[in-house]
Amino acid sequence: MKKTTNQDNAGATAPAGAVMPKRNIWTRIGLVALCIFFLAEWAMLAIYDHSTLARIEQLSAFYYNSLFFKETMAVPAGFLSYLGSFLIQFFYYPALGAVIYVAGLYLVYRLTVKVFEIPKELTLLALFPVVLLLATNTQLGYWIFYLKMPGYYFMALLAVIFSLSAMLLMKKLSPVLQLIMVMVWIVAGYPLMGVYALVSSLFMALYAATSSIRANKGVLLPAVTLVVAVVLVLLVPRFYYNMYTSVPYEFIYLVGTPCIQWRDVMVAKVEHSVPSYWHSILFYWVPFFLLVAYYAIACVLPLFKGRVRVGKLLSAVVALLAVVLLHGFYWYNDNNFRIENKQNRAMWEQDWRAVADYARDAVVPTRQIVMNKNIALQKMGTLGSEMFSYPDGSCEILAPMGVHLTQTGGKMAYFQYGKFNFCYRWCVEDAVEYGWRYEYLKHAVRSMILAGEYKLAQRYIDILKQTLFHASWADEMENYVNNPEIISKEGEFSLPLALACYDDALDVDDSLVEAYLIKNFKNMYGDVSPEYLETALAQCLIRKDAKSFWYIFNEYLRAVNPKTLPRHYQEAFLLFYNLDRGKEVSVNKEFFQRFISANTQRRFDSFLKKVGQYKGKKKEDELAPLFKDEYGDTYLYFYFFVRKIRTN
């Protein structure tokens, strides 16, 4: 049943005629605008941020057991974290997860209108908190790998929903009951909601006071409520500090937010060559501050009711501006970030063509994109003929903190390159920092299965079985544990197993995944497989290491005995042979006839000729664009014009 508001009543008593249609138009426009807004938000999340939501789910954890509940609840705001983790699991299907999230946003909108009795013509202003809540998430970018707050994505949203619901309830209570409710809200709410309980209790008390003043009711009890709220907000966290062993004292008033991580100390060591507001840690706090400011203003507005007039058009324009500006600034739009996440999803789905194709969307890719692409090409058997025909480079990560491959794509790379111990190691290291996320568990399972450590793999399989969406994957993996003889027959595992042909050694990677892999493949401990040799050869080309190239190239020819030589190896051969000028290497004519195609030779010759034309006339960075169209898909271009690659 629909309740009527004052505005509805006013409309009902107004004479029929010219006024009614006008109001209907505004109402309809408002409704349409709202529908468009929430639909657009859903589309942005479910379509534009599809891969990000999917990755957020992979980097989350919710387990259906009592110990997980107990551990999550062992910190203040643990209840929000638990519920948030529960809801994030639905991002497994990003469209579904986005529906849930947007439904929550809509609830915030409705509750804001209801609680603060926002007039109908101004309801678009209630979209402010909706956009701000969204901004707390859409701004994250690479923070999704580093946030140590399980359930973060939904925590603020849930907190606002609970708080507004409580305020709605409180409005119906007598002043005495309001006082009791505020006290209970703080004392019982702090362990469950952390700072959100503190802030919302102040809003509850403030709103009760201003509403009372506005209604010319007694102000004594509301004033007492406000004072009690302030005192309890100051004291309750101190009291609870002694009951928890998980919160440093200086953060007791901020638990429930990323207060421990979003500090300058986290970002002080990072040097950025290109300035961006995404590098400022303060920037990430702005949506939270604005959210608090919005509701603070909403709480004191009753004092000004009737004195301030905001036009319908103005409110619509302001709301629109807020949406556009906040989304423009606070929607992390780094293309490389999205490509990495798309590649990651495709890698788990073994869609190697897609992994490689996504790499084409990068202007200057990150090293992770390049590595993922190379893995995909090797899986498809086209590494030597395709790897340099994609965008290449080492784009700097757009984030305020140091972003390392070990946390983003390193585990996948280690697994695919047959470094199972190192893959597992980073699963464990990151689990220490961020908890056992699904992605870590899955990497741990796969790496330990291929390492032959079935008992350990089974442990993680059993944990994954306690999840909603990963249990069936765990069952598949359990089949390998129970039937190890089928592991080598599984295509997914053939490359990692072929690359895991080295002898054991003690080693360290210093968190530099690609640099370590390049060094490690060069060393070739023990007898190695043809796949290993091809990988080593490819790493050699990336390193532009002519000396190692000849040794590995010889080994490659001996072990693989290819009928034809992939194009990039031909190009590298011609380049290094040319640079050697016969000092170290001698090659007979038969080799050229057998392995160097006429087309490769022709392009190489024309490349050299063109280089000769510009010699001394142009600088290197001026030359690159002149060669890009004609030779951008060759190793020659990579060797001469893709410079300053920073492996990480």
């Binding site: 387990y63 057991n65 009592s66 110990l67 997980f68 140590k148 500090y241 002694n242 062993t245 998980s246 919160v247 440093p248 004292y249 421990i260 991580q261 100390v265 986290m266 060591k269 470094k419 199972f420 111990n421 190192f422 597992y424 190691r425 464990v428 290291e429 990151d430 689990a431 220490v432 920092e433 056992w436 390492a451 032959g452 450590e453 008992k455 350990l456 089974q458 442990r459 059993d462 944990i463 306690q466 895991a500 080295y502 002898d503 054991d504 050694a505 003690l506 080693d507 360290v508 990677d509 490690n520 401990y525």
Partner: protein, 492 residues
């Protein structure tokens, strides 16, 4: 009121009146079949790992019978205590019945042997993920063995988090009591948190003459000194060996700390030896420690690089030196066990409270045996120098971090046998002749606990009383300024 009563009656398990016997043992986790437990231990909960859809378990000791239903076998503390009282010095018979396709069967019964030797009421341990270099959520916790209560003694999350994080380690007690105890805090606000006769202080034990602050501690049980190793430790990682990591000391010595005078002095600091893991004898007049001979022979590379290549050459022997409490002087080095002569490495010597036995971990090489799958517990009779493995306590996976109970009738140790990677605590009864009975896993309130619990237990220690200083009181001390020790030269 009627409904709960009805449910209670309906859920009350009963042993089937008719059943067939199966000639097989039940598969249970944890494996509590034929273990020996102290009479004051908390209830052993376990899970029956089979596909049957109904289970009933009957515990019998004399006239006392307790019946539990379900796949997870959980007995109340009250019922368990009754069983223990009835079975002390004897055993509890455990019969597991299961239902398949409407028919009831019984596995072969097993026993839980109940020793009349009670066990120290408390233990403490560090809870740490089995990680390599990361530490985010570490705690030193204490557990009441007569129930499931666990409390945090200190947590590193009380002070800070990465990147100004804190590692905490090496808790130790004097004579199983907590009025003299210590643990270390590393990195942020680092120092040794030292409780001396009930007073807490933070000590900076690093001097210009020692290679580090104190690391592995041992309180002298009779006198007011504490022995420490000082270590320059690093980690390197196996690329495919399941041992996964090697923790190596590039250099290590042994020192003694005087908590009254705030001084430290060397006990052992040979440049060609790595000395570590000090342990006082119960009478406080002999200091045992481990020592590995390692010479830096290839000067073309750094010592740590050479150690990485020759890591299997690092093998520790057990030595000891007498100590005169009146003069503070140590006697000559006496060799207790030359493990290296057997191609082995012996670590963590722990002397039984009666001074007769030395319990230690033995593996092929190295000092950090909790990562070595071949590491087993051994006992040496210090009178006869005969030694033997604790076969009933050992497993094919690492055993290390062992401790004697105050009575010497129980040992507590960490083992990775459950899933090969997470250290869990096992307790074994020690017989007069230095052999052990079958060890049992530290019981938890639910059998599924260890399936999900993602931290290892390490450095377990027995205590006869709990630590009463709160974590927050420790945190305040950690935030304060440390007492700086002085180095004494001629104390050897």
């Amino acid at each position: 009121m009627a409904l709960p009563l009805l449910l209670a009656v309906a859920c009350s398990p009963s042993v089937p009146s008719e059943y067939s016997e199966r000639d097989s043992m039940p598969a249970i986790y944890p494996d509590y079949t034929d273990v020996t437990v102290p009479c004051n231990i908390a209830p052993l909960t376990f899970r029956i790992d089979d596909s049957a859809n109904e289970h009933v378990t009957r515990f019998t000791s004399g006239e006392t019978v307790v019946v539990a239903g379900g796949n997870d076998v959980v007995v109340s503390v009250e019922d368990w205590d009754e069983l223990m009282v009835a079975a002390a010095g004897n055993s509890v018979k455990v019969e597991v019945f299961f239902c398949e396709d409407g028919m009831w069967f019984a596995y072969r019964p097993f026993s839980i042997n109940v020793s009349a030797d009670s066990i120290d009421r408390y233990i403490s341990y560090r809870l740490i993920p089995p990680s390599y270099v990361a530490y985010e959520n570490l705690s030193i916790s204490q557990r009441d063995l007569t129930c499931y209560n666990e409390e945090v003694i200190y947590s590193n999350r009380l002070i800070s988090a990465e990147p100004v994080g804190q590692c905490i380690n090496c808790h130790a007690y004097k004579n199983y009591r907590t009025d003299n105890m210590q643990f270390h805090v590393r990195q942020h606000l680092g120092g040794t948190v030292f409780v001396h006769n009930g007073n807490v202080k933070k000590v900076d034990m690093k001097t210009d003459s020692t290679i580090s602050a104190g690391v592995y501690p041992s309180f002298n049980p009779k006198y007011d000194v504490v022995a420490y190793s000082v270590n320059n430790t690093g980690q390197v990682f196996h690329t495919r060996n399941p041992n996964k990591v090697e923790v190596q000391d590039k250099a290590s010595d042994v020192i003694v700390y005087d908590p009254v005078r705030e001084t430290v002095a060397h006990v052992a600091n040979s440049p060609e030896h790595l000395e570590v893991f000090p342990c006082w004898s119960p009478d406080g007049t002999t200091l045992y420690y481990c020592s590995a001979h390692f010479e830096h022979t290839d000067t073309s590379m750094a010592v740590e690089a050479e150690m990485i290549i020759r890591y299997k050459d690092v093998k520790y022997d057990v030595l000891r030196r007498s100590w005169n409490p009146e003069t503070g002087e140590f006697g000559p080095v006496d060799t207790v066990f030359v493990a290296s002569a057997l191609g082995k490495s012996a670590t963590f010597p722990r002397i039984s409270p009666d001074g007769r036995y030395m319990l230690f971990a033995l593996a092929e090489y190295g000092c950090f045996h909790i990562w070595h799958k071949d590491a087993d517990l051994y006992v040496m009779d210090l009178d006869t120098k005969a030694m033997w493995p604790l076969d009933k306590a050992n497993s094919p996976f690492p055993e290390s971090y062992h401790a004697w109970s105050s009575t010497g009738r129980w040992i507590l140790f960490a083992s990775r046998r459950d899933d090969t990677n997470y250290s869990r605590l096992y307790i074994a009864h020690m017989n007069e002749d230095g052999t052990s009975d079958k060890a049992f896993l530290l019981p938890q309130s639910t059998p599924a606990f260890y399936d999900f619990f993602d931290r290892s237990y390490n450095v377990p220690e027995f205590m006869v009383e709990k630590v009463e200083i709160t974590p927050h009181e420790f945190a305040e001390v950690v935030k304060g300024e440390p007492v700086k020790v002085k180095y004494l030269r001629n104390k050897k």
